[in-house]
């Protein structure tokens, strides 16, 4: 009679020693080894773990679907929010661009010669000078550096002074004494 499997302390069915080992080639029964004595015991099969796994898988699947749906909703909400923000920004950019163009127009209108002359003459009481005074450049001075004249052509120097340019004192000009020495005796 073969040895009955023994139960382990936990009731687990233990396999006899050597049960998993190959049989000797000569067919002789192997001697049971006292060291490899199995601790065999019966395990009552339970149906709950199988049920739990399916249940969990179902719940997991549902959770994933719900999560995905929620994520999709959140994504759409974010997209909608971003779209509204984009609309606002585009509207703001358009308004700022329009404002910039209007400010450009205002600057151009403020720089209008008609407005400047109107204020200068009409409000500030400025007048166009009654005469133009040309200052001859000092001897030796470069043409471009003389009295703010440009470097086009020769300087307005002594040769012209000899002919007597039109030089008249602006009426009431306070700086006339400082100007006069440059006029080479004219008038």
């Amino acid at each position: 009679m073969p040895a009955e499997p023994r139960r382990g302390p936990e009731g687990a069915l233990r396999q006899p020693a050597g049960a998993g080992s190959p049989a000797p080639a000569n067919g002789a029964r192997p001697e049971p080894s006292p060291r490899a004595e199995p601790h065999l015991h019966l395990v009552v099969p339970s149906r709950r773990p199988h049920f739990n796994r399916r249940y969990m898988a179902l719940w997991a699947g549902l959770s994933v679907v719900a999560g995905l749906a929620l994520a999709l909703v959140v994504l759409h909400v974010l997209i909608a929010q971003a779209q509204f923000r984009l609309d606002r920004l585009q509207q703001q950019a358009g308004q700022d661009q329009a404002q910039y163009e209007k400010l450009r127009l205002s600057v151009a209108q403020l720089e209008s010669p008609a407005r400047i002359v109107s204020i200068a003459e009409g409000v500030l009481g400025m007048q166009q000078p009654g005469s133009v005074t040309y200052l001859p450049a000092p001897q030796g001075a470069g043409s471009g550096a003389s009295a703010g004249l440009s470097s086009n052509g020769p300087s307005f120097g002594s040769p012209l002074t000899a002919h007597g340019p039109t030089v008249t004192a602006p009426p009431g000009a306070a700086d006339w004494p400082s100007v006069k020495p440059y006029l080479s005796g004219n008038p």
Binding site: H76, I79, A80, Q83, F84, D87, G94, Q97, A98, E101, K102, R104, L105, A108, Q109, E111, S112, P113, A114, V117, S118, I119, A120, E121, G122, V123, G125, Q127, Q128, P129, G130, S131, V132, Y134, S143, S146, G148, L149, S150, N152, G153, P154, S155, F156, G157, P159, L160, H163, G164, P165, T166, V167, T168, A169, N186, P187
Partner: protein, 678 residues
Amino acid sequence: MTACLGGVLTRLFFVQGVDAARYAQAARNEYVHEISFLGERGSILDRNGNPLAMSVPLTTVYADDYQVTDPRAEAQYLSGPLGVPEPVLQNDLSEASGFVYLAHTIPDAAAAKVSSLLASGLLPGVYTMQEPKRFLPAGQLALPLIGVVGTSGQGLSGLEYKYNRLLEGRPGKLVEDMDPAGGMIPGGVHQYQAPVRGDDLVLTLDKPLQFDAEQALARALVAAQGRSGIALIMDSRTGELLAAAELVTPSRSDPVTMQEPPALPVWFVPQGSSPGAPSQGGAGRAPTSQQVKSVQPVEAPTATAFTTVYEPGSVEKLVTLSAALQSGAITPSEMFNVPGTYNVAGTIIGDAWPHPTLYWSPASILAHSSDIGTVEIAQKLGLPKLLDYVRAFGIGQVSNVQFPGESAGLVPGPAQWSGTSIATIPIGQGVAVTAVQMLDAYNTIANGGVAVPARLVDGYVDAQGREHLFPVPKPHRVVSPVVAREMTQMLEGVVKVGTGGAADLSPYTVAGKTGTALVPSPKGGYIAGDFVSSFAGFVPAEDPAVTVMVVVEGTHQYGAEASAPVFAMLARDALQQLGVPPHKPEPPLPGVALASPYGGEGEAAGPALPGLSGTPVVRVSVTGAPAHGPGSTNSRSGGKVATTSTTGTTGPGAPPTTAAPGAATGATTSTTSGGPGH
């Protein structure tokens, strides 16, 4: 039951199968909206980048009248802010068209009111959008050149028309799914193609000088009671037009309010100014009370400097004398007997003033604008050669600017010549020019005989800010440098001792010529006392910086009176603007007879320009030796000419120095001016 089911299935087959695309498209049309955006029109800038015309987006109000619930109530709300009568709005809101404009480009204040009404939900079906509107920030400055833009953003005239493709840009497009409230459906179709802004056109005009030119011309038109006027300032070296003023004096029978915006007076009355004391000198003076009461000039409806031809009169003599000198028909020292009257092909012609037979050089003929002397020169040249040079100077062909509607002028061909053509064309009658053509002719002499084509547009700046310059046309030689210098000296004589004294700009040396032409009558012949008075010239004569042309049409005054003072004003302002100092006068050319003074000439100098040179005192030195009498030599033959000798003082009204044949003609002039201290 089966029949019903069959009917439903059949209908389903057609709806979902056969007509599926059509229904799908109809559905898309309900929620897919396509909106087009006009590309912002580019600006028109002056040479320094100052905008002369620019577009600014403003609010436009429109409605989807299918969504309008109460047209009457909404019309009541909108009527005030939009400034549109309530019945009109109510009618628009009830059109059932799906889209209707209620108001274009309304002011910001009105747009704010509409926005608040929209925010409060009182205007279902009413929407706003931005549309560009064209503005002229400097007023109507240079309006004839710039032109006008229609409500659709298309250039209709002037440079706006010619460069419309550059300026208009490319429209943009937005395709998106929209809900019934007009909001975008998130996640739906959204395609946006941004509009591309048009390029900015850069002109050669200088805004302050343009203003100066218009103000000075307006004053001249009122003073001379002219119908219209043109003032052109050109950079002599480059041919760039710095200013082009074109004004007309409106009359009740000839309104000039066809332009958009309506023509406004060029002048303004500064607040607080004393209208009785206009200041002098540059531009922008307050008009006198008398001037304010008079009809004020307005911008011309077209760019008359390019589009309008006129008979130039004596300014044309520059071409005649240049042609004669260049072809060798005359020499600058040659003397001519100029009788009081002259018979040409049976027609007796005379000068503008009676005189005995004079013995004059070409310089004197030009200085005193003798028609008879000019005709004598032209007869030596011959009409075919003269007309060749007329064309060589650019008359009879459109200018380089190629302005829309520009005229080529009228130069008669051989088939149109008559026996008196040799007496009319040399003095600027029987030939028609534009002001720009005549300006080009004078600028040719200013450039030493090289024609530098006029330019009005420098280039453009694209949407990325890159500058693109238009190619500069090649200059070409018309007359030799020697002839140009000789002509310059003769033109100086016009201002020093001749008819152009009012253009004197001492200490600058001015070279120019007056012109007074009769105006043709529609009934044939000419209108007595109705002139086209002009002055053209350049300054400084030694190294020309600016070339200026002033034309006053429909006046009773001569060019010396109506146009020469304006020339002086504009030339002075331009020289100051460009920073050009007076130059040392060059000595007279050897072999070129100088103009001799003559009292009592027809084109008397106008009043001295206030603030420029005071009362001009012209001292003229007349040589004692007959250097240029018959048989005398000149520079071309290696001869020498005396240029200094005794001095005699003369001026307008002084005894004439008419000399008999063989008398002294080589004269030198020196100009001094007396200020208050003299």
